[in-house]
């Protein structure tokens, strides 16, 4: 079966009410939803009962306004903490955090911020302290930038 066929199988296996809710959470009027982001949307829906959103292997990350993409090669979790101003997103991969009003927005923001951080760490690799070098290596175990 082709890769697109495999992805489609995963999508149609998702419960219908979750699928449309998931698409609404992640897509916007101006941002088309790549097929890979369906798995992110599914993770966001599942996070509602656990405050933890799993980003699965195979998810494609991108930076808004950029042609840079990265592939998730190992699954990891984003922790979602409810606050007065919305949701805070963090993960063990990096010391960055993001704050947005909704779960969908904060997960999407966190993923692009994580990719941005990876690019910045790589750009400055020669000058990183030991602690920051460890963070770079840790992220690189989970995300691979596509050339």
């Amino acid at each position: 079966m082709s890769k697109d066929g495999e992805r489609f199988q995963k999508i149609i296996a998702m419960p219908a009410h979750n699928f449309f809710y998931a698409v609404a959470l992640v897509s916007s009027e101006t941002t088309p939803l790549p097929i890979e982001n369906i798995t992110v949307a599914d993770g966001i829906v599942r996070s509602e009962s656990s405050n933890s959103c799993t980003i699965r292997e195979g998810v494609l990350l991108s930076l808004p306004g950029s042609s840079v993409h990265a592939n998730v090669v190992r699954a990891f979790s984003i922790q979602l903490l409810p606050t007065d101003d919305g949701y805070l997103a963090t993960s063990f991969l990096s010391d960055i955090c993001e704050l947005e009003l909704t779960r969908g927005n904060v997960v999407r923001k966190y993923l692009s911020s994580l990719l941005d951080e990876l690019l910045w760490l790589r750009e400055n690799e020669e000058n990183l302290s030991d602690i920051l070098m460890k963070e770079l290596k840790r992220i690189e175990e989970y995300l691979v930038i596509l050339q």
Partner: protein, 105 residues
Amino acid sequence: MGISVSDLIRLAETVLGCEREKGTDHVRYVLRIEKKIIGRFKFSHSWRKNQQIDGYILGMQAKSMHCSPQTWKMLLEGKMTRADYFGELLAHGVITPEEYAQLMK
């Protein structure tokens, strides 16, 4: 009155001497000794200067700047000096005595 984005900018630029890097979505502050990057933190362009910063975010920033949340908060409130902060970095082995001396110049 809590800690605002303005307090964060003041601490980074005036007290610690961090370099400001402007990205597409975020502002990043970087603490360097010569070329070596010791710590960094960033926040979204969408944050207003008078926006109050959540305590959890302050904790994450403290972690990325290699100090305790209490130290970071006291720095932001002006109750601790750069010498205290760099002394904490030295005590925890984040910087060497030579690097401490350079930072204190």
